[in-house]
Amino acid sequence: MKYIGKKVILMAATLIVVSFLVFLSFFVMSGDPATSMLGTQATPDRVEALREEMGLNDSFFTQYFRWAGSFLKGDMGISYSYRIPVESMIADKIPVTLALTGIAFLMLIVLAIPLGIYIAKYAGGIADRVIYVLNQIMMAIPPFFAGILITFLFGRIFKLFTPGGYVSYKDNFGQFIGYMFFPALAIALPKIAMAVKLLRSSVIGEVKKDYVRTAFSRGNRSNQVFYNHILKNALIPVITFLGMTLADMVAGSIIIEQVFGIPGLGRILLTSISNRDYPVVEAIIICMAFIVVSINFIVDIIYQLIDPRISTEE
């Protein structure tokens, strides 16, 4: 429990630091939101009045605490370009991005771990060699390009989905998940390749260890040695990798959303950055940071469950 408490405090601290840095970076960036809202033709008086109204003339810390305070209460501010509350803009986009990364991560686990186990057990065989080549190719293809290839292959040639035919989760949840499948695959593919490779080499490293010989000396079958002894040890580095890669996948979803025309956080993020719509950008970054931090928290817990050498409750 103490361990979890520590992690929660660390999570909160991380989010505070992220929020501070995000706010700071927009504070020092050039460009005046008031001017951009009113247009360059506006009189200096009107700009000044608006600046005063928006609180832009206050000191940095006053602005930061006012923003952070209302953020905590669920008020993320007003979008500069759309003049509507930020939370109403992103509320229905968060589940989309979350679903996309979630499905991609699920694919990663469901495909990479059994595949890694399989080729590690039959290392040197034909499957191992074929997957080695496929792995190299998959790792070399960036997700956005994999997305284009998948759209072409599965969308155009095999007609398994309609490119651009996004269905909102509110309209038809089944079709929504169905549409998410291929974008998620594009995000997951390079990660699957890496995880398979990592698990394979991790297993091969473990096989040589002394405890494996001990296990054989007790009369275990090869399969028992593998599943009872080697696998848990070999998964430790893979879990570390999965945790790290998740942050990457959240970021990767921004690009993939563009490729597949998915109205998730990524799309508003990009338009908001080019519009200098700071409240929206800030809110999205905090949301993403929150997702990443929460996932890391879960990974940490799993990590602790699997490896007793990680500092425990005492």
């Binding site: 002394d210 405890y211 007790r218 009369g219 002894h229 848990k232 430790i236 699997i306 490896d307």
Partner: protein, 270 residues
């Protein structure tokens, strides 16, 4: 060779050859050994003398494809070198227990001590979970670990090297094997612990009539524990005999040198 009815294990003409380089390399030549019930036999020799290879071969743990083994290792009529793996597995851990040199790495780091001590019981017996736990705790007590109940639930990294080696021994004798092969079990431990482990092995031998094959480079330890000694060098058996004979009247030059190399003061590490 006098009491044939008690013969447990007979190694005849064992040759082990590696093929992992351009030229095949023989690491054990024409090794012969017979182990009778309750005997403690020491195999001594310097590093590279082939003693560990012999031990691993007897335990059925040399299964690399790039090596060739010739000769016979007969256990109860079964040739361990040629019998199917399933038959070998039935002996491993049940009839033949093995303790290794490195207590720090020979236990699985992510499994609890109790689980590992019970493992051969789980494989070779029909005991229920409760019976296994009871046996495991009794085993941990029998290797003189205090607070066995607590140790049962710990992980290897929470124990010292000496404690881990005791755990290894407890696990190896769980099924009351007829032969315990101890491959340099004390090399990684400090001298006080060494002496305790030797005493423990002796106790196991006396209580259960377990034959022990004690592999070591340390003649002074062997002289304290073993009745019979096999001296090896460069893959060959140099000399075999009772411990007393070997120590009092060594015939071979190499044996004499080994004896001369024992530090005079027992407190020093050999």
């Amino acid at each position: 060779m006098t009491e044939i009815q008690n013969l447990l294990l007979e190694v005849k003409n064992l040759n082990i050859e590696f093929h992992d380089h351009l030229l095949p390399e023989t690491v054990v030549y024409d090794f012969d050994l017979s182990v009778e019930e309750g005997e403690i036999i020491g195999i001594v020799g310097e590093s590279g003398s082939g003693k560990s290879m012999t031990a691993l071969a007897i335990a059925g743990l040399l299964s690399r494809h790039d090596m060739e083994k010739r000769g016979q290792i007969l256990y109860d009529g079964t040739d361990l070198l040629t019998c199917p793996r399933s038959q070998l597995r039935r002996l491993q851990g049940k009839e033949i227990g093995m303790v290794f040199q490195e207590p720090m790495t020979s236990l699985n780091p992510v499994k609890r001590i109790g689980w590992q001590v019970e493992e051969s019981l789980r494989i070779h017996t029909q005991m229920t979970k409760e019976e296994r736990k009871k046996t495991a705790i009794r085993l941990l007590e029998s290797v003189e670990l205090t607070d066995a109940e607590k140790i049962y639930k710990l992980y290897p990294h929470e124990l010292s090297g000496g404690m881990r080696q005791r755990v290894m021994i407890a696990a190896a004798i769980a099924c009351e094997p007829k032969i315990l092969i101890a491959d340099e079990p004390t090399t990684a431990l400090d001298v006080t612990i060494q002496a305790q482990i030797i005493k423990l092995l002796k106790k196991i031998n006396e209580e259960k009539r377990t034959a022990i094959l004690f592999i070591s480079h340390d003649l002074s330890l062997v002289s304290r524990l073993c009745e019979k000694v096999v001296v090896m060098q460069g893959g060959y058996i140099v000399e075999t005999g009772s411990t007393e004979d070997i120590f009092m009247h060594p015939k071979e030059e190499y044996t004499k040198k080994l004896i001369a190399a024992i530090p005079k003061c027992e407190k020093k590490q050999g």
